[in-house]
C-alpha cells in the first residue's frame, strides 16, 4: 500500500438500527427473574435502591425508586455525604439513559463483504473470543506496550485488572489531561499531596471566595454548589474573574471580565499587592513556606498598572480584590477550579493559585484550603502474581503522576502512538473519542483508523463505536455492580456501593462480567472473584462490614475529620523541603520555572474570537447528549454560541439566527449553531457548550443538535511539565446561512 493512500483499514460504520435497543422488546421474564435482594422493599413491589451516580465524576449518592421492575424516579441519597439528599438534574436524568431507545443491544462485529464494511450482530461468546484472540495476539507479537486503554467511568477497574493479567498497563483517562490533571499535580508540587474531588476548599465556612473561570452552578458539582450556597447564606463574598458573566459571576460581589489567557498575570498582580502592601501572612510564610524571595523577585515588576494593561482589568480593582482577600483571610481562598487546562500552562496557573492561598496563610484554616480524607479501604492481596510490567508509567512528561495506576500515560500520547504505529490495539471504555477534547476530532479518528484492532465498550452507539472492530454493549450504571467507591475525599470519609436497581436490559452485560469473560478466554482463571458480589463482600469484610450491610444505605460513612491545624503545629508536608513550596525545587530541577510566570498566548486574528467552552447544568457533555429526559427542556435542546452585542452588530448577527462557525485553520462546523447575542461576554471571545453537534445518526436525539465544539479544535498546547492538553487557542468566526 502506498503511503497516504487508503490509510484507514477501518471506515466509520453506521450501526444498523436493527442492532439497537429500539428494535428489541425488553424481556419481561428477565426483569421478573431478577431479585433485587437487599434494599428497602416497599408496598406493591416498590423499592428504593441506594447506589451512586455515573453522570459525572462527582459520583453522588442516589436513591433509585423502582416500581414494577422499572426505575421511575431517582433522587439524592440522604445517606451519601456528597449528595445529602440533594441531586442535580443529571442525577435525576439517569432514567433517560436507562430507557434510551438508542442503547446498544447486542455485541457487534465488523465484517467486510464485497469491499463493504458493516457490523453484524454477534453472540457474546463470538465477540469475546474475537476480542480475547486479537488482544492476546497483539501482546504476543508486539509486546504489552502495543496495547492501550482509554477510559472514562467507574466500571473501568475490571478492565484494568483484566489487562494487568497479561502485563498491560498503558491506561489513560482523557479527563485527567483535560480537566483535573493540572490541579492534581500543582497541588503535589506545592503541598506534597494530590488534590481531590471535592476540591479541598472549606467553602461553607469561607467569607471570601475567588474563582478564575470556573463555572460552579453551570458545573453542577452537587456538594460544591451546596457549600457555596451555604457560604452565600452565611454572607460570603464571591469574586469571579471570567471573560463571561457566568451564573457564578451573577452571584459575585465583583465580576472582573478578564481578558482571556492572561490569568497568570492577574495572579502575579494580586501577589504583588499582597506582598508590596504587607498584606500577606508573614508568620505563616516564614514558618511554613520556602521560596518567598524568589517569588517576590518574579512579581516585583507585576504592578497593578502593568497587570491592568495585560488583563484589561482596572488597577484599582486588582488592589481592591487583593486587599479584601487579605482582609477576610484566612477564611478566604482562591479556588483551583475544574477543567483546568486552557493554554498548556495550567500547571503553573494552578501553582499560582496555590501560592495566592499560601500567602494569606489559609492552609488548613476554617474557610480556607483543607485536605479532605478518604475512607481507608484495604485492598485484598491479588489472587495471582501479575507478570512484571514493562514499566509503571509510560508518559514522557516529567510531572505526570507516578501513583495513579489507572492513568499511566496521557491520552494524547496514546492517540499519537496509535497514529505512529507503536500502539496496535485499543480498548476504549466509555470514551466517545471523536468528541473528546484530547487532540480534536481528526486525530482521534486517525488513531482509531490506524490501529490494528479497536474494541469499544459502551452503552450508546456514540461516534466511537462506529470505528471499532468489536462493540461490546455494557449495561448502564443502574443495572450493575461496580467496584466500591472510596475515591472521593470529604469531611466525612466514606465508601459507597454501586448496585443494580434493575437487571441488565437487552443483551447488555456489566463490565465486571465482560472483563472476566475476556480474561478467562485467555485461560487465566481466578483473577476475578467467583462473583462480583463475593468480591465486594470480601473487601468490605476487611473493614468490618459486609455487602449485606452496605446495600442498605449504599454507603459507609466515617465521623467528621478535623480539618484544621492547631497553633504551632508542624505541617510535615511531603514536598522536598517539607514546607509549602512557593518556589518548587522539583520544577526547578526539571528545568521549568520554579515560580509561575505569565507568558503571552496567541491572540485571535481580526474578525475571529477566542472559543471558550463550558457546560449546561443539566448536561455532562457527551454523556447526557442523547438523554431525552434531560433534553426535554428548552434550555437543554441545543447549544448556542454566545456573541457580544457589539460583535453581533459588526457581523450583522441577530439573536436566535443560525450560523456556521469557522476556525483559524478553516475548519467549518458541520452543523449550524444558534447565536445568543448578549452583554454577558467580552468582545474578544465567544462561548459555546461542549457536547453537542453529534454526527452519529444512531444517536437519534443528539444527532445534528447544535454544533460540535470539539470539531473546531485543530490547535492544542500540551503542558510540557505534566502533559495536559490546552485547547483555548482556537479562534472562530461566523459564516452566515445563505
Amino acid at each position: 500500500m502506498s503511503q497516504g493512500q487508503n490509510i484507514s483499514r477501518r471506515d466509520f460504520i453506521k450501526i444498523s438500527s436493527i442492532f439497537l435497543a429500539g428494535s428489541t422488546a425488553l424481556s419481561a421474564g428477565a426483569a421478573q427473574a431478577f431479585s433485587g435482594a437487599d434494599s428497602s422493599v416497599g408496598d406493591e413491589g416498590s423499592k428504593v435502591v441506594y447506589s451512586f451516580c455515573e453522570h459525572c465524576f462527582w459520583r453522588c449518592g442516589i436513591a433509585a425508586h423502582v416500581r414494577d421492575g422499572k426505575v421511575y424516579k431517582i433522587t439524592g441519597s440522604d445517606h451519601h455525604p456528597l449528595s445529602q439528599g440533594k441531586l442535580c438534574p443529571r442525577g435525576t436524568g439517569g432514567t433517560g439513559l436507562l430507557y434510551d431507545p438508542d442503547r446498544l443491544a447486542h455485541p457487534l462485529i465488523r465484517e467486510t463483504k464485497d469491499g463493504r464494511q458493516f457490523y453484524r450482530k454477534a453472540t457474546w461468546d463470538e465477540a469475546i473470543t474475537l476480542v480475547a484472540e486479537k488482544l492476546y495476539g497483539i501482546k504476543e507479537q508486539y509486546g504489552p506496550g502495543a496495547l492501550a486503554m482509554l477510559h472514562h467511568g467507574y466500571g473501568v477497574s475490571f478492565f484494568k485488572n483484566m489487562f494487568s493479567q497479561i502485563g498491560v498497563n498503558k491506561y489513560a483517562k482523557p479527563s485527567y489531561d483535560l480537566c483535573c490533571g493540572p490541579a492534581r499535580q500543582a497541588t503535589v508540587l506545592t503541598y506534597g499531596y494530590p488534590s481531590d474531588t471535592p476540591e479541598g476548599f472549606d467553602m461553607k465556612n469561607s467569607k471570601y471566595m475567588v474563582f478564575f473561570g470556573t463555572h460552579f452552578g453551570e458545573n453542577m458539582h452537587n456538594t460544591a454548589v451546596q457549600e457555596i450556597s451555604e457560604g452565600i447564606r452565611r454572607g460570603a463574598k464571591i469574586v469571579v474573574f471570567d471573560p463571561r458573566f457566568s451564573t457564578l459571576a451573577g452571584k459575585a460581589e465583583h465580576w472582573l471580565p478578564i481578558k482571556p489567557a492572561t490569568d497568570i498575570a492577574m495572579m502575579q498582580g494580586l501577589m504583588h499587592v499582597l506582598i508590596s502592601e504587607n498584606l500577606y501572612d508573614k508568620a505563616f510564610v516564614e514558618a511554613h513556606t520556602v521560596g518567598f524571595d524568589e517569588l517576590w523577585e518574579s512579581v516585583r515588576e507585576m504592578t497593578p498598572e502593568k497587570v491592568s494593561e495585560i488583563t484589561d482589568i482596572p488597577a484599582d480593582d486588582i488592589r481592591t480584590v487583593a486587599r479584601e482577600y487579605a482582609f477576610h483571610a484566612p477564611a478566604a481562598f482562591v479556588h483551583t477550579g475544574r477543567r483546568t487546562n486552557w493554554y498548556g500552562d495550567a500547571l503553573q496557573r494552578i501553582r499560582a493559585i496555590h501560592i495566592l492561598n499560601a500567602l494569606v496563610g489559609n492552609f488548613k484554616m476554617p474557610g480556607g484550603v483543607v485536605a479532605f480524607q478518604k475512607f481507608p479501604l484495604v485492598q485484598p492481596p491479588p489472587a495471582h502474581e501479575h507478570p512484571a510490567y514493562e514499566k509503571e508509567v509510560h508518559s514522557k512528561y516529567p510531572f505526570f503522576p507516578e501513583d495513579e495506576p489507572s492513568n499511566t500515560i496521557a491520552s494524547h500520547e496514546i492517540i499519537q502512538q496509535a497514529i505512529s504505529g507503536e500502539i496496535k490495539g485499543l480498548l476504549i471504555y466509555g470514551v466517545n473519542l471523536p468528541e473528546t477534547m484530547t487532540l480534536g476530532r481528526d486525530k482521534a479518528i486517525e488513531a482509531m483508523k490506524k490501529a490494528e484492532f479497536v474494541v469499544a465498550v459502551d452503552v450508546l452507539p456514540s461516534e466511537v463505536t462506529g470505528y471499532a472492530d468489536v462493540v461490546l454493549p455494557e449495561c448502564t450504571y443502574l443495572e450493575r455492580y461496580d467496584d466500591l467507591d472510596n475515591g472521593r475525599a470529604f469531611r466525612t470519609p466514606f465508601v459507597a456501593l454501586r448496585q443494580p436497581a434493575v437487571p441488565p436490559m437487552y443483551d447488555s452485560k456489566p463490565g465486571n462480567q465482560i472483563a472476566k469473560m475476556i480474561t478467562e478466554k485467555w485461560g487465566i482463571h481466578g483473577a476475578f472473584p467467583p462473583s462480583v458480589e463475593k468480591g465486594l463482600d470480601k473487601k468490605l469484610k476487611l473493614v468490618g462490614s459486609s455487602l449485606a450491610e452496605i446495600k442498605k444505605k449504599g454507603v459507609l460513612v466515617m465521623p467528621e475529620t478535623d480539618l484544621y491545624r492547631k497553633p504551632g503545629e508542624a505541617l510535615n508536608l511531603k514536598t522536598p523541603s517539607g514546607k509549602v513550596e512557593l518556589a518548587s525545587a522539583r520544577l526547578k530541577a526539571g528545568g521549568f520555572d520554579a515560580v509561575p510566570r505569565y507568558t503571552r498566548h496567541p491572540e485571535p486574528p481580526t474578525g475571529f474570537y477566542r472559543m471558550l467552552t463550558g457546560r449546561k447544568p443539566m448536561l455532562t457533555f457527551g454523556r447526557t447528549a442523547n438523554n431525552r429526559f434531560l433534553g426535554d427542556l428548552a434550555t437543554a435542546k441545543e447549544n448556542e454560541v454566545w456573541v457580544n452585542n457589539r460583535i453581533a452588530e459588526k457581523h450583522s448577527l441577530e439573536n436566535g439566527e443560525y450560523v456556521h462557525l469557522k476556525n483559524q485553520d478553516g475548519v467549518i462546523s458541520e452543523f449550524p449553531v444558534k447565536v445568543k447575542v448578549t452583554q454577558r461576554i467580552r468582545t474578544d471571545a465567544v462561548y459555546m457548550v461542549h457536547g453537542f453537534g453529534h454526527t452519529s445518526a444512531k444517536l437519534t436525539w443528539a444527532h445534528k443538535r447544535g454544533a460540535s465544539h470539539n470539531q473546531l479544535i485543530s490547535r492544542t498546547e500540551i503542558d510540557p511539565a505534566m502533559g495536559a492538553v490546552g485547547f483555548q487557542n482556537n479562534f472562530v468566526t461566523f459564516i452566515k446561512e445563505a
Binding site: 421511575y72 424516579k73 431517582i74 433522587t75 439524592g76 439528599g85 440533594k86 441531586l87 442535580c88 438534574p89 435525576t92 436524568g93 432514567t95 460552579f216 452552578g217 453551570e218 453542577m220 452537587n222 454548589v225 451546596q226 457555596i228 450556597s229 451555604e230 452565600i232 447564606r233 454572607g235 460570603a236 463574598k237 464571591i238 458573566f245 451564573t247 457564578l248 459571576a249 451573577g250 452571584k251 460581589e253 465580576w255 471580565p257 447544568p617 443539566m618 431525552r628 429526559f629 434531560l630 426535554d632 427542556l633 434550555t635 437543554a636 448578549t678 452583554q679 454577558r680
Partner: protein, 180 residues
C-alpha cells in the same frame, strides 16, 4: 414557599424532579426556571429563580373556572379536580403567572404543591431535591424561627402583586448584598 434567588443557580433540578415525581408528560413542566440578567456591561446583574403556580389566596383561576374544577383545598393550596375539568382554558387565560398547561389527556394541569407528598409529611419534590437550598416550604400562617431568620432584613418581593391575587410565593431578591 420562600424562594431564595441569592443562591439559585437555575440548574433546573426542581423541574426534572417535578417531572419525574408527577409524571409530567414530555414537552411540559409544572415548574420552570427563569434566568434574568440586566444592567450595562460590565456592571451586570442576574437573578435565577424557580417558578410555579403561586397558590394565590385570591386565585383568578378559581374565580373564572366555570366547572369548579379549580378550587381551594383545605390546606389553602389551589388544586384541580381533573374529573370536573373540561379543558376550556378559562383558568389559563386568567392566571397572571402562566402556571398552567393542557395535559395531553385533556385536562388542565399545574403544580399541586406535591399534595400527595405533603399529606405523607414529605416536602415537595422540588424542595427536597434543590442542591442550593433555594426552595423553602413555608407555612406563612405559622412561620418558624428559621424562616423568620431567613427573611430578616432582606429585600423580599411577591410577583405581580398589583393583580390582587395574593400569591403565596415570596422571593428573596438576588439584589440583596452579602450578609444582608
Amino acid at each position: 414557599m420562600v424562594i431564595d434567588t441569592r443562591v439559585c443557580v437555575g440548574c433546573s433540578a426542581c423541574v426534572y424532579a417535578c417531572k419525574q415525581e408527577n409524571s409530567v408528560p414530555e414537552g411540559y413542566c409544572r415548574d420552570w426556571v427563569v434566568q434574568e440578567s440586566g444592567g450595562e456591561y460590565p456592571k451586570l446583574t442576574m437573578e435565577n429563580r424557580s417558578e410555579r403556580c403561586q397558590h394565590c389566596e385570591n386565585a383568578p383561576c378559581v374565580t373564572y373556572c366555570p366547572t369548579r374544577a379549580s378550587h381551594y383545598a383545605e390546606d389553602g393550596t389551589v388544586q384541580i379536580n381533573r374529573s370536573l375539568c373540561t379543558g376550556c382554558k378559562a383558568c389559563m387565560a386568567a392566571c397572571p403567572y402562566d402556571a398552567r398547561y393542557v395535559h395531553p389527556e385533556g385536562y388542565v394541569d399545574k403544580c399541586s404543591l406535591c399534595k400527595h407528598r405533603i399529606e405523607q409529611g414529605l416536602e415537595t419534590a422540588c424542595v427536597s431535591i434543590c442542591p442550593t437550598g433555594s426552595l423553602n416550604l413555608v407555612d406563612f400562617n405559622n412561620m418558624d424561627e428559621k424562616t423568620k431568620e431567613l427573611l430578616k432584613g432582606k429585600i423580599v418581593y411577591r410577583q405581580k402583586e398589583h393583580a390582587g391575587t395574593e400569591p403565596s410565593l415570596q422571593w428573596i431578591s438576588a439584589s440583596n448584598k452579602p450578609g444582608a
